[in-house]
């Protein structure tokens, strides 16, 4: 590998190939037993798609300025739970949510709640990078514009946001170019930047790295570690190492099969500090999944 140079001196390609690779090990953080200040609290959360009972009885808390990872086998309802935290499920006509979801104590599915206001505070990053077919600049400026955010200088906001997302040096000379010209990893970081441009309270991420190579993945993980200082992050991931590396707490979901009816439904098995889940899980299913024997 080349010696490290300053980002700005390198071409785009070189940055991706030889950029500083963050260490996969991170400083161990003190994680209290239960979240000190829960951002979300769910109580007996149940989610249906039409007649299909996708998720049953999820009760958990998501702590402020923590990274919570949701793991579990495919189809166990991780995305479903995640999308109900910013009311994205409202876009699916058949989806129905019952039970309680509180956001800073406010019932998210209360009668007076406007899902648009909810989503303005709770940003989302999707599995597949989905930048708008607009310039890099306009992608970042989109959120502040539609939310009517008061900004002194949009240029400054775009720069700051891109810097926070560790993307500035790579794109500063092509802000007016179409975002589709970026690499997959850059596009995903742009989507993260776009999500934080409005300064949301929470960022939800649904398998944000599943389409990326290991280096791009590590960059995003590094970014998450930095963002944790100012945001609450909830991430769905299939990558055990990733959950272990970045998260403070981990929730393990699985598909539960009703013995008598044969109905399948997703549910929470175990929720604890990440270190506990990975080193000393209390449920056999968790242990099996983590060690790769099951799921």
């Amino acid at each position: 590998m080349n010696a490290r140079k300053k980002d700005s001196e390198m071409t785009d390609q070189a940055t991706r190939a030889a950029g500083p690779v963050p260490s996969p090990q991170r400083a161990v953080r003190d994680v209290p037993d239960v979240p000190k200040e829960p951002v979300f609290t769910t109580q007996d959360l149940n989610i249906h798609y039409g007649d299909f009972h996708a998720v049953t009885d999820v009760s958990m808390e998501f702590g402020k300025n923590e990274i919570t990872a949701l793991i579990g086998p495919s189809g166990c309802g991780k995305s479903t739970v995640l999308r109900c935290l910013n009311r994205m499920n409202d876009l699916i006509p058949t989806a129905r949510v019952s039970g309680e979801v509180r956001y800073h104590g406010i019932e998210l599915y209360g009668p007076k709640i406007d899902p648009i206001e909810v989503r303005r505070r709770i940003g989302m990053v999707f599995q597949k990078a989905n930048p708008f077919p607009k310039s890099i600049y306009d992608n970042i400026a989109y959120g502040p514009r539609v939310t009517g955010m008061k900004v002194d200088s949009m240029d400054d906001l775009v720069e700051q946001t891109l810097r926070r997302a560790a993307l500035w040096d790579e794109v500063k000379d092509k802000l007016k170019q179409n975002a589709y010209g970026l690499s997959g990893g850059q596009q995903q970081r742009l989507c993260i930047a776009r999500a934080i441009a409005t300064n949301p309270d929470v960022v939800l991420m649904d398998e944000p790295c599943s389409a990326l190579d290991p280096i791009a993945t590590l960059r995003i993980e590094e970014l998450m570690a930095e963002l944790r200082e100012s945001y609450t992050i909830i991430i769905v991931t299939h990558n055990m190492q990733q959950a272990a590396r970045v998260s403070d707490r981990t929730a393990f979901f699985t598909v539960k099969v009703n013995e008598t009816t044969g109905d399948r439904t997703g549910g929470l098995v175990e929720f604890d500090r990440t270190t506990t889940i990975f080193e000393n899980p209390s449920d056999q299913r968790t242990e099996g999944y983590i060690s790769g024997r099951f799921g």
Binding site: I116, F126, P133
Partner: protein, 323 residues
């Protein structure tokens, strides 16, 4: 990599390995030839039409100078004294296109946005087929609709909206009634082509927009419409071309007076209506009137060609920005 199992030995029985074509695939070659023929036929027919129009058009300009055709002199090709000022019927076409597009383009785009972004499942299930039925109604029925319903209605409300001398109600054939009805007629075309373009944009874009806290209106105007822009332009051009080329409605409802005007209250003759009205069989072959038909047809052809070329350029230009 090491985990991959080695490929199993090919079974010892069976024919030896051969990678040569197992048959001569004549059927496929035949079908390809047939498909090529179909594509070539379309090109040949187009060339044929151009040639068929070109000959008589050249002959027309031998008899009537360019400067008389492209002029504002009266339009009276089969009268004495004759007049060939095509601007009169060009204006008729322009007026019809103006009013019909003023209705069809915004309404068609609006309908597409509604169908794609706002309509409930049920509303869409009802409205889409209705639009398709509207597309299938024969134009002559629209012509009757203009004469029997829209013209009287406009005559009645005209004086309330237009003051003074200009407020005199129109006769029963005039630009606005034909334009309005033609516009209504074109709405379904614009709407369905635009909506197809909108429904083709990736779901992820819409999710991204909603995830950032966009309202439905913002999703529609800032993400869906710009992303579907080239399809929307295509729908507009299609609508415009139909307005330029439509004959029956204007023949029935716009009047038959070649009139250098865009005023909604006036009767006009469009280029298509002139051809439709004149080419009835009693035009003598080889007369100047006969050649005039072709000259006007050639002009129509050129106009639609230019419109299409502009649209292709537009789509190209915006592709650069939006893909």
């Amino acid at each position: 990599m090491a985990l991959l199992t080695a490929p199993t030995e090919p079974s010892s029985v069976g024919p030896p390995l051969s990678l040569e074509p197992s048959s001569r695939r004549l059927g496929e070659k035949f079908i390809v030839a047939l498909l090529f023929g179909a594509a070539a036929l379309a090109v040949l027919i187009t060339v044929g039409i151009v040639l068929a129009i070109a000959g008589p058009t050249i002959e027309f300009f031998r008899q009537v100078p360019f400067s008389r055709f492209f002029s504002t002199e009266a339009w009276a090709p089969n009268f004495v004294p004759d007049g060939f000022g095509v601007y009169n019927i060009l204006a008729g076409t322009a007026a019809i296109v103006l009013y019909s597009c003023m209705i069809a383009l915004p309404a068609g785009l609006g309908a597409a946005i509604y169908l794609n972004e706002y309509a409930s499942h049920r509303a869409r299930r009802i409205l889409k087929p209705v639009l398709e039925v509207l597309e299938g109604i024969p134009t002559v029925v629209y012509g009757l609709f203009a004469l029997a319903f829209v013209a009287p209605l406009l005559q009645e409300i005209w004086p309330t909206f237009v003051p003074g001398k200009l407020g005199d109600p129109p006769g029963f054939q005039f630009v606005l009634s034909a334009g309005v009805v033609l516009g209504i007629m074109i709405i379904p075309t614009v709407a369905s082509v635009s909506q197809d373009a909108m429904s083709a944009i990736p779901h992820g874009l819409r999710e991204a927009a909603y995830g950032l806290g966009s309202t439905k209106m913002q999703v529609a105007t800032k993400v869906v419409v710009p992303s579907a822009f080239s399809g929307i332009v295509a729908s507009f051009v299609l609508g415009l071309s139909r307005a330029v080329g439509e004959t029956m409605v204007v023949l029935m409802a716009a009047g038959a007076i070649a009139n250098l005007t865009l005023w909604p209250n006036d009767p006009v003759l469009t280029m298509t209506a002139f051809i439709g009205r004149t080419a009835t069989g009693d035009v003598g072959f080889g007369t100047t009137t006969y050649y005039t038909l072709f000259a006007v047809a050639a002009l129509l052809f050129v106009i639609t060609l230019v419109v299409n070329m502009i649209s292709i350029a537009l789509v190209r230009k915006f592709r650069e920005v939006y893909e």
